[in-house]
């Protein structure tokens, strides 16, 4: 099979992921988009591993690592989402902006 097919598929998957991360408001959907991007990378790893005929199959091994890490990451992410939802009653990314610089008066006070 030509390398172009999996590569194009990976690009499409990654672009869909980027769009999801940047444009979706729901945190769950953002996490799922992150998974899409990760899997695009996994696809690339596997495809290039095959194409390069690597005897050690480093690409495939790395893919296994990535899947594990992705599972751990999604677990942590979902835990944070749950806590945010419990305390703030919201799952929207643009609703959680407490770390921003919106409290002009407060920061002025601290600067002095």
């Amino acid at each position: 099979m030509h390398l172009a097919y999996p590569a194009v598929l990976a690009v499409l998957l990654f672009s869909v992921g980027v769009y999801g991360v940047l444009a979706r408001r729901n945190v769950i959907l953002v996490l799922m988009s992150v998974e899409l991007m990760l899997n695009a990378v996994n696809l690339n790893l596997v495809a290039f591993d095959v194409w390069l005929r690597d005897t050690l199959h480093a690409g495939q091994a790395l893919t296994l690592f990535t899947i594990t890490i992705a599972a751990a990451e999604i677990g942590l992410g979902l835990a944070i989402v749950l806590l945010v939802h419990r305390t703030r009653r919201t799952a929207a990314v643009d609703g959680v902006t407490a770390l921003g610089d919106r409290h002009e008066a407060d920061t002025e006070e601290v600067a002095r």
């Binding site: 991360v21 940047l22 643009d94 902006t97 407490a98 770390l99 921003g100 610089d101 919106r102």
Partner: protein, 652 residues
Amino acid sequence: MNLALPILVPVLPALGAAAGLATGRRHPGLARPLAVLPVAVSAVLALVTALQLGTGATLDAATRLAPTGGPEISLALHLDGFSSLISVLVGLVATCVQVYSTAYLKDDPRYPSYAALVSLFTAAMFLVVYSGDLIVLLVGWEVMGICSYFLIGHHWETADARSASLKAFLVTKLGDVPFLFGLFLLGADAGTFRITEVLRTAADGGLDHPTLIALLLLAGVAGKSAQFPLHTWLPDAMAGPTPVSALIHAATMVAAGIYLVARLLPVFLLSSAALLVLAVMAAVTMVGSALCALAQDDLKRVLAYSTVGQLGYMAGALAAGDRQAAVFHLVAHGAFKALLFLTAGVVIHAAHTNSISAMSRIDGLRRRVPDAYWTMGIGLVALVGLPPFAGFFSKESVLTAAEHAAHGEALTGTLGPASAVPAAAGWTVLVAGLLTALLTAAYATRLWLVAFHTGPAAPVAAPADAPYSPEIDEADPAHAEPAAMRWPLWVLAVPTTGFGLLGLRTDWLPRLLDGESLRPGTETMVLGTGAALIGLLLAYAAWRTAGTRAAAGQPATDPGRLLLGPLHGPARHGFGVDRLYTALFVRPTAAAARLVRFLDRAVVETYVRGAGAAPGWLGRAVRFAQTGNAQGYLSALLAGAVLLAVLVAVGS
């Protein structure tokens, strides 16, 4: 002889001062013994040193202090008749003042630091008197200056005391800067700072710029000894406590300038121009200050102007080339002027005012302070110069010196040729001295009569705008004369009465000094005493006239106003010298300071503020990007990554 004694003389009061400053706050009870004992022991040691040294002998000892590569600085001791005589005076007056202060400043919370500073001052004065090295002498000279500054500002709660202390410091420093240059020039010309070697070089004609050196040194002497035109600080210095005025601003520190010229007189004799300048300075000072003293209403200011005038006598004697007469008058004046100031302190405590016209309204002031009344009388007679009091002999010796100088036979002794003193200097000093003798008698008589003999029946009106340096005092008028304040008066009255007689026999006082005769000449004796008697009678007549006028219901007048006539107004304000200095120096300086402040605020600070403000605005702009929305950050991150990728792709 044993070197330890003369070394201990300046060291003991200095140690006493250090101990007093260290323990003053925690153990106030120690302050009095720490103040009196070291100074008293030093006074005794100074006397013992003087007796051991004897007459006509000198003692020199030195240890090298700092190898400078140029003229060396050494910790040198030089004792001769002059220094031992003056050190005895300093010890006597300082002890009396310390004892007196224990009572005078009994309730003062700052007494420990006051007493320590007086001790430190005494140490510095001893150092100046004993030093055989010009730089070491300068150290003592400056320590005295700073002690004087602190002590004038003792009552720093009052604006008067603060400004007076600053004025004293600045004016004396104005003289000290040229003085320093004069010392350096002298050291450079002579190749050494040791006084004995400087004098040897001067005698051999080795000095290249004697006139310049003498004039530079004179500036410092004018500042320290309150001679015209730098005399203005001394009357204002009376804002300090009265014992300080007695010790520092009458008996000792102000005499240091005279002592320095006396030590370096051979250098001054090399330059007739410097002697002429000194003579004119002395003449202007003595006549002007005597006129001012006649117009003052503040008791201490009368005495301060009188001090300026008597220092003028000493400077005049030096201008006439006779340092014996100058030092003779210095010691006599030190005794009687310290006595006068100490009695003035008692009277001020009893009357609760400095103003002599206010004292004239108090009934029976002289019965309240009998000791001060009599000792002040003794002091004033000595100041007027009536025989046989000390002031008579010392003033006559000054006038005799001036007369000899006027005839071209100056009493320079072995220091230089008599022709070194210009006759004009002698005439200037002689005429001014006789005029001042008259005026001195007049103001002393006026002071005495107005303060003690006028009574509430015919009081003297106080001039509305008279300069006045009141002191903070809460003393009980009924106990204005405790024993600690009474005994110093009588102790000082002894030399005031008898010291002058020592000058009569050639084997007493003159042997200690240069060995010339100190007997008054017949002509000057007649003229000087006659002038004093005329002044005395004039003042008495004016006082009688004022008394009869007041009894006739006319407005009361000051005898001084009757005597001075149109001069009274200007004389009361020191002939406007202060106003002149304000216009000439103070205002331009203040204007320059305002200009500098404007430039600093408007020009320099603009750059500084701009340097701070620009990053501030930049930071505020960047803060707008920090919205808290994670997706916004990620978008920016992606944009940046794409940009970098494109740049790398294009670049490669």
